[in-house]
Amino acid sequence: MIQTTDKKVGAVLVVGGGVGGMQASLDLAEGGYKVYLVEKGPSIGGVMAQLDKTFPTNDCAMCTLAPRMVDCGGHMNIEKMTYSEIESIEGSAGNFKVRVRKKARYVDPEKCTGCGECVESCLVRNIVYIDQPGRAPVQIEEDVRVKVDDILNRYSGGREIIVPILHDINEEFRWLPPEVLCRIAEVTEIPIEHILRIASFYNAFSLKPKGKHVIRVCTGTACYVKGAQRILDTFSRELEVEVGDVTDNGQFSLETVNCVGCCGQSPVITVDDDIYGYVNQTMVTGVLGKYT
């Protein structure tokens, strides 16, 4: 019979024991619901458990995941159904009936200590199964694609071509647009995850669009002792922009650079390809005037 009341009570079933599923289960369980957490793999944790760090903050994946795994593992309100898959769902919101197939584990979970002896002594070789779903073709404008493919045609080889390619892309577009990175991944068959890690590691590459002119205040030691910070503050105040951002009108990006090797003329700033030496705060407006 279908329940018609708006008030939903009872248990909740969460499908998938990745970090999202675990967090959902914990929130619900804390809220007083009985949770069934169904996971098709033999353990909760999902993809995040296989990662070293996460994009874009480079946070340690395990540090995020482990507390949730422990909490989920021990929570009285969460019943974990691992190595299980959903066969059918009936009913509607508030009154579902779900059939779950619990696959045979051939190991008594009550007794298992997770020592791994059985894996070592098994005579049948364990073959790692990696899921590789097909990716949809990248959506990219035709003229952009032509430019990118032009650059890609200059290079061949393994992963060592990625930094030079990104340099060329950066020169062409002045930043690394997401669809262009996807196109590189598609053509070179280097995983997009790897490209993104490289792109976010180096200071030269930007994943955000830049202003028409890029102002870089050198904060190398020699410039710093001669007041680079004050110059940076003045630019930030005059342009009403935080360091690392673009002005509202898109005219200027304000950045710092860790030494342009021009220490004889410190403090130094660069605007696009022009270098200015012996800068002081009173020169800031004059310099900006040249580029507006």
Partner: protein, 593 residues
């Protein structure tokens, strides 16, 4: 017919930033106007050394040194000197505190005490012309090595010379080469580490810009000695001019058959390509550098086993080390070993910067004292201020206070003093530099550049940074100093690569030598150097203010009041301590306390 006079105009990044290219064009035009184009030749060269006084021009063969040139000086200079033969005194170098100029380069104290090996061709050749390098004995050493010496002989020569890595760690170069030569795996590689990340250092840039062929020749000799046939030049992308010059130099060397197949008919093949870095400080670390070339994430790896490139043996040396190699083969190991101290042979290039009169590039024999560098060559501190410290070794090095000025500059002595040779950056600091703030600056730098692999470095630098920032904001607590020391030692012990291990050095060495300043920040909430914004106020001196209203006009907060020709005052409630008034004042009337 050869030209009678050669005008060497410095076109390094420093001088270009002050308009050297316009001056070159103007020189050409004026020389033509006076009809002197058959007598006077303008030669663009690399850094001449005294970068602070750029743009610089040296007239050869007399060696007359002109500095701080401006476009408007050129017509007069060409007419007076080149046409009438009367050198222009007003454009010459005047030593600080004196009145009469020194016309000749070789008499200027800055140049007099230097000994040039790695920089042997600075200011003498056009870096874009391979013929000029060859005319100065260029590629002679390579010819000698590949045609008349065995691999073992080359390595023996380098070992005997006592040459050690100029990148900072000081590993004996000969021993490094020998171990790679004995490695049976092939192919082998040579790499030039020109990822000069230390802020305040520009030796490598200057060598590559001024004399790119010396590095190429050094690498070719190294490749022959270890049996490598290809090489990489890992160059920072922040140095566009250096990238351009080395690429041109490689093309020219290929054209002359000095790179490529069967060099000098000896059957030795070697070719070189440029790999542009992408702005990551950690890539200067060798294992991270090779990972970067391989297209992997440039995180340092565990050593030993030895660093490899694509699992093959690789020799990685610094720019300056490579540039020394041809000279050693030409002049002999014995000659080289006579320069320097017992354990540190040869010369070292330093980039002298910060609060110093003669900022620029110097090459001095090892074992010279810091005092000689700072006062004799560097000309002392500007505006008669007190010397406070010199910082060597970049973010991995330490501060050396006035009491250590008589320290002899070599690998061991600097290590012992809690600093390091590093790649050769030397930043001089005067009394107005706050040591707590400086330590904070370096930790902020390494925190930003930490690759994040080791927790001790990633989180440790953040913890240090938080404590130091708190101190600079006047929120330091008793016990902070001890905490800094404890953390610093933990980071040193627990990090994997050089970046992490040496990250606490600026903090620990400033604590050792300038503990009082830390205490003033914590106990008295006072910044003795007058730099930490939260701990200072700006005031105008009654005696010195001339009432010019310059500061009032520039103040973004309109916090300065006072009529013309009357004493100005700063409204402390409005003041944001930006320091604009300090820059604007011509009579030094703005006081910071």
């Amino acid at each position: 017919m050869p030209h009678i006079t050669n005008v060497m105009i410095c076109t390094c990044t420093n001088c270009i930033s002050n308009g050297a290219l316009d001056i070159r064009d103007s020189l050409d035009a004026q020389i033509k106007r006076q009809g002197l184009q058959d007598d006077v030749l303008v030669v663009p060269t690399g850094a001449s050394g005294l970068c602070v006084n750029g743009p610089i021009l040296i007239v050869q063969p007399e060696g007359i040194f002109y500095q701080k040139l401006k476009g408007k000086d050129i017509p007069n200079l060409v007419e007076e000197h080149f046409l009438k033969g009367r050198p222009v005194k007003s454009l010459m170098y005047v030593p600080p505190g004196e009145e009469s100029p020194i016309p000749e380069l070789r008499s200027i104290p800055f140049f007099k005490d230097q000994r040039l090996i790695a920089l042997r061709n600075r200011g003498l050749i056009d870096p874009d012309k391979i013929d000029e390098y060859i005319a100065r004995d260029g590629y002679k050493a390579l010819a000698k090595a590949v045609t008349s010496m065995t691999q073992e002989e080359v390595i023996k020569e380098i070992s005997d010379s006592g040459l050690r890595g100029r990148g900072g760690a000081g590993f004996p170069t000969g021993r490094k080469w020998d171990s790679r030569r004995k490695d049976p795996r092939t192919p082998k590689y040579v790499v030039c580490n020109a990822d000069e990340g230390d802020p305040g250092a520009f030796m490598d840039r200057s060598i590559v810009e001024a004399d790119p062929h010396s590095v190429i020749e050094g690498m070719a000799i190294g490749a022959y000695a270890v049996g490598a046939s290809s090489g990489y030049m890992y160059l920072r992308m922040e140095y566009p001019l250096a990238v351009k010059r080395i690429q041109l130099a490689i093309e020219q060397a290929r054209e002359y058959g000095l790179l490529g197949k069967d060099i000098f008919g000896s059957g030795f093949d070697f070719d070189l390509q440029v790999f542009k870095g992408a702005g990551a400080f950690v890539c200067g670390e060798t294992t991270a550098l090779v990972a970067s070339i391989e297209g992997k994430i440039p995180e340092p790896r565990q050593r030993p086993p030895r660093t490899t490139l694509w699992d093959k043996p690789v020799v990685i040396n610094n720019v300056e080390t490579w540039a020394n190699v041809p000279v050693i083969l030409n002049w002999g190991a014995k000659w080289f070993a006579e320069i320097g101290t017992e354990k540190s042979k040869g010369t070292k290039v330093f980039s002298l910067a910060g609060n110093i009169n003669n900022a620029g590039l110097v090459e001095v024999p090892m074992g010279i004292t810091l005092r000689d560098i700072v006062y004799n060559i560097g000309g002392g501190i500007p505006k008669g201020k007190e010397f406070k410290a010199v910082q060597t070794g970049g973010p991995s090095g330490g501060f050396l206070p006035a009491s250590l000025l008589d320290l002899s500059v070599d690998y061991e002595q600097l290590d012992e003093a809690g600093s390091m040779m590093g790649s050769g950056g030397m930043v001089v600091m005067d009394e107005n530099v706050c040591m707590v703030e400086m330590a904070r600056y370096f930790v902020a730098f390494t925190n930003d550049e930490s690759c994040g692999k080791c927790t001790s470095c990633r989180e440790g630098s953040l913890a240090l940074l938080e404590i130091l920032s708190r101190m600079c904001n006047g929120e330091g607590k008793p016990g902070d100093i001890e905490l800094l020391e404890e953390l610093g030692e933990a980071i040193r012990d627990a990090s994997q690569c050089g970046l992490g291990q040496s990250l606490p050095n600026p903090v620990l060495s400033s604590l050792e030598h300038f503990r009082d300043e830390y205490k003033a920040h914590i106990d008295e909430k006072r910044c003795p150097a007058g730099l930490c914004k939260a701990l200072i106020t700006f005031n105008i001196s009654e005696e010195k203010c001339i009432g010019c209203r310059l500061c009032a006009k520039k103040c973004p907060q309109e916090a300065i009041s006072g009529e013309a020709k009357e004493l100005h005052t700063i409204d402390q409630d409005k003041c944001i301590k930006c320091g604009v008034c300090l820059d604007a004042c011509k009579s030094e009337a703005v006081l910071v306390a």
